[in-house]
Subunit: 125 residues, 2 copies
DNA sequence: CTTGCCTCTGACGTCAACGTCAGGTTTTAG
DNA sequence: CTAAAACCTGACGTTGACGTCAGAGGCAAG
């Protein structure tokens, strides 16, 4: 039995998390530094993550892609963890939602313009 | 009659372009530096833009918002200016279109997740 | 034992679209 | 004429999410 196995059944090291979530090891350490992710430590100091770290990292990636900062994600994490929110958090949630919606609309407009050009250039080779 | 007026009827200075397009003066100079925008010069060296610089700058902003770089926009500008495109340009156009479409889908997914949380937290105050 | 991969902690580097400051010229308003 | 705006050319600073390198340990396998 390896030390990693002895440390706990559901615990994985950082490389495993990174591979499973499709990000770099550096990124996972960065998330911890930003207060998004916590990990136990093995006696030798290596990070040990629970399995739910993987979907969590995937979720971070989604939020980053949506334009949220680490800080904002950290502020809104309690909404997921506890399901409880105060007025300020609800306001932030709605603000982010509106911002993303506006971004979607902008992207759709840009997409339409590109499609228009593509059609034009396809009929005028 | 001011010098600007004497320089030509349809020509405006950089501040006017920036205000009308809703960007900073610095941004307009930056676009020129990136090869996106050209301007005549008054005898004293001030930039003089034609009116169509304003919608052009707005267009740049849209493309930036869609995630295109200055370099990419510069590469694709001939598609607008001349309506003519080679195979490489058409490939880039489609690649950008697909990238934007994927981004829209990602944002929509993120939006759905946020909405879900908002509904949950609204019913569980 | 030792080879080779994984992990650790710092700390500096990157990239893109500007912001900002310095120091000087130009144009406009009164 | 004069003071205030507006403009000019550099050139360094900013921000965020990492990349990358250095140097030092940790761990499974042969």
């Amino acid at each position: 039995m390896t030390i990693t196995e002895a440390a706990g059944e559901g615990l994985v090291r950082i490389g495993q998390v990174a591979r499973d979530a499709g990000v770099s090891v550096r990124a996972v350490r960065y998330y911890e530094q930003q207060g998004l992710l916590t990990a136990e430590r093995s006696p030798s100091g290596q990070r040990l993550y629970r399995q739910d770290a993987v979907p969590l990292v995937r979720f971070f990636q989604q939020m980053y892609a949506a334009g949220l900062t680490s800080r904002r994600i950290a502020e809104l994490l309690p909404c997921w963890d506890s399901g409880h929110t105060d007025a300020e958090q609800r306001a932030m949630l709605r603000a982010e939602r509106d911002r993303i919606q506006a971004k979607v609309d902008d992207l759709q407009t840009a997409l339409d313009r590109l499609d228009e050009v593509i059609r034009t250039t396809d009929t005028h080779p």
